[in-house]
């Protein structure tokens, strides 16, 4: 193996690690009774940015956000490509121009769990270690 090969392999391992790491950091969840099984990241982005309020065959969806922390930043970066100040500016504009309202903020994992169970069209996100039997992880298409 020459040096170029070594570099290429290291690079791809690194990228893979990052991808795995990102995937591992935040997961998108719905209630176990939810009819939703999988979504692509574009659909998730639209739902959480307010560009789409409903999904075909599912109907009106209810996105659930969390208060500002590292997990939130990771979620938005991965699925919408925007950082938190950009998300805030996006919502400032939508609120001011009357085009939409930000997702409801849940303040604890218990609250998230309760709403997901009660509302089959609610979607939230959390870290993988917080996932339990009342939720199911959405498969990324």
């Amino acid at each position: 193996m020459n040096r170029v090969h070594v570099h290429l392999i290291s690079l791809s391992l690194l990228l893979l690690c990052n991808a795995v790491k990102a995937a591992a950091e935040v997961v998108v969840v719905v209630g176990k009774n939810s009819p939703m099984e999988s979504l692509n990241s574009h659909e998730i982005s639209d739902i959480f940015l307010g560009n789409a309020t409903a999904l075909p065959k599912i109907g009106k969806v209810m996105p659930l956000d969390r208060s500002e922390d590292r997990l939130r930043a990771a979620f938005y970066q991965d699925y919408t490509g925007k950082n938190l100040p950009q998300i805030k500016a996006h919502w400032a504009k939508n609120i001011f121009t009357g085009r939409g309202y930000p997702p409801k903020v849940v303040s604890s994992i218990d609250e998230l769990r309760a709403i997901l169970l009660k509302n089959p069209t609610a979607i939230g996100y959390t870290s993988p270690d917080k996932v339990d039997g009342s939720m199911k992880i959405l498969i990324m298409k």
Partner: protein, 489 residues
């Protein structure tokens, strides 16, 4: 009347000469091209201006509605919080209200309740500091209605809206909602406003609560506020701003708040498309003008060239057919004219006369006084001869001192006789040559068509015979041809 019409005809003839015609038409066409172009440009700008005014009005209307809605929501939230707090919910008030979605979005707004000294009793999580603005607290204590912070009186770049709280009738602090000033100009779209458009909320105290130009957002800029602006609207008047850019300005006081909504569109941006079109039109007009000028210059040159050629030809012909010294027709031309007269006379059954004219004693004068004097004399003789004849008559110089005349329109011999006598008398008058007076006489021989000949040669010969007879029988006289003369000489 005829004087006027002939003057007009004259004018038209002069006008159609190449010298005047082509340049004039060219100038007229150029005038048309430029008049149309300038008019188009003027219309372009007028339309662009109108479009800008309409757009500005529309943007202001939208901005006014959006701002008022936000202000009323904040106002309303403050009232709800105040009610809940004063009704006795104390420290949990905000969380309880938030749980019921009664607070504005905490993503963008922060809410806090402070006591009389500005200490925070309760706040939503986003953690803007509500306490450092002493001026705001001071203002809040003075009134029961909504208070809006002044960016010039605070070190922080946030906008605060507050209202006083009362417990049991006494002042108990205030509830304050804060937001970043940029929130109020987040509806700015450069597609509509341009990159130098202006959007802002101006306080009635002359201080901008927020001002956005392009992507540059500030708070606290001041303007010399005209008190009358409070009630009036600005409807697109051009304002010069501190950044030197002229803008169409639209303003309206927001009902119920000490704020004026403002939208301004940069003039040069709104007129940019019109300016591009104007440039296009100018280029086209210039190109068209150049084209016209080139074409007309070419036409002019062509026409002028042909005129020159024509004049040259005429001149050459003139030299070929006229005597250089006297300007009279020469023998060649006279021959042609005689042929013409013969043809006409034959066709119309008319008669005409040919007169041979020979100066008496010319050689003597030429020899004694010199050729210059001789030439002078010949010129004067030619002039007098011309004077004696009508414009339809011809007199030509065919030799040194020999002339011949053709009288085509005279009827019969009487007229020829009268003319001959007139000539003799006129020539006999003393001539003034080089300062001296000299006398000279002329001998005239007359032949007539058809009596004395029916072709050029015969008429000429017979007139010559008659003249010779006159010369050898006393001079200074005229003789008609008759066959006897021929026999006698």
């Amino acid at each position: 009347m005829s004087k006027i019409s002939s003057a007009i005809r004259d004018y038209i003839r002069r006008f159609t000469e190449a010298k005047y015609f082509f340049p004039t038409i060219c100038v007229v066409l150029l005038g048309l091209v430029w008049a149309t172009t300038l008019n188009l440009i003027r219309a372009e700008y007028a339309t662009a201006r109108e479009t800008a005014l309409t757009l500005g009005h529309e943007l202001l209307g939208t901005y006014e509605a959006q701002s008022l809605r936000s202000l009323r929501e904040i106002d309303h939230s403050l009232k709800i919080i105040r009610y809940a707090y004063e009704a006795g919910m104390s420290a949990d008030t905000l969380q309880a209200l938030e749980a019921r979605d009664l607070l504005p979005s905490t993503l963008v707004f922060s809410v806090c309740i402070v006591d009389q000294s500005g200490e925070v009793i309760s706040s939503t999580d986003t953690g803007y500091s509500c306490t450092s603005n002493h001026n705001l607290l001071h203002a809040l204590q003075k009134t029961d209605s909504l208070v809006i912070s002044n960016p010039q009186e605070s070190t922080e770049s946030i906008l605060s809206f507050g209202t006083q709280l009362h417990i049991n009738g006494s002042a108990a602090g205030a509830v304050i909602i804060t937001v970043e000033p940029a929130y109020f100009v987040s509806g700015y779209e450069s597609q509509k406003y341009g990159t130098e458009g202006l959007n802002g909320l101006l306080g009635t105290d002359g201080v901008f609560r927020v001002l956005r130009i392009g992507d540059n957002i500030t708070a606290g800029a001041t303007v010399d506020i005209n008190p009358s602006l409070m009630d009036q609207e600005a409807n697109g008047a051009i304002q010069n701003y501190h950044d030197g850019i002229k803008r169409y300005t639209f303003m309206r006081h927001l009902f119920g708040y000490p704020l004026i909504a403002m939208v301004s569109l940069a003039e040069h941006e709104q007129l940019a498309a019109a300016r591009k079109n104007a440039e296009k039109y100018l280029i086209r007009a210039t190109a068209g003008s150049l084209f016209l000028i080139i074409v007309f210059a070419a036409l002019f040159r062509e026409s002028w060239g042909r005129k020159q050629e024509h004049e040259q030809v005429v001149q050459v012909e003139y030299i070929a057919y006229h005597d250089t010294l006297t300007g009279l027709p020469n023998r060649g031309l006279f021959s042609k004219l005689l042929q013409q007269a013969l043809m006409l006379a034959k066709r119309n059954n008319r008669s005409f006369s040919v007169l041979f004219l020979d100066l008496d004693g010319f050689k003597h004068i030429n020899d004694t006084l010199g050729h210059d004097a001789g030439d002078q004399l010949l010129i004067e003789v030619s002039e007098r001869l011309t004077e004696c004849l009508r414009s339809s008559d011809v007199v030509a110089r065919i030799g040194g001192d020999e002339f011949v005349a053709l009288l085509p329109n005279h009827k019969g011999g009487d007229c020829a006789e009268a003319v001959a006598q007139k000539i003799i008398t006129a020539i006999a008058e003393p001539h003034n040559i080089l300062g001296h007076k000299y006398s000279i006489t002329i001998s005239v021989g007359i032949s007539m068509y058809p009596r004395d000949g029916q072709d050029e040669h015969t008429l000429m010969k017979n007139a010559d015979i008659a003249m010779y007879y006159a010369k050898s029988h006393g001079k200074n006289s005229y003789r008609f041809y008759s066959p006897e003369l021929k026999l006698a000489s």
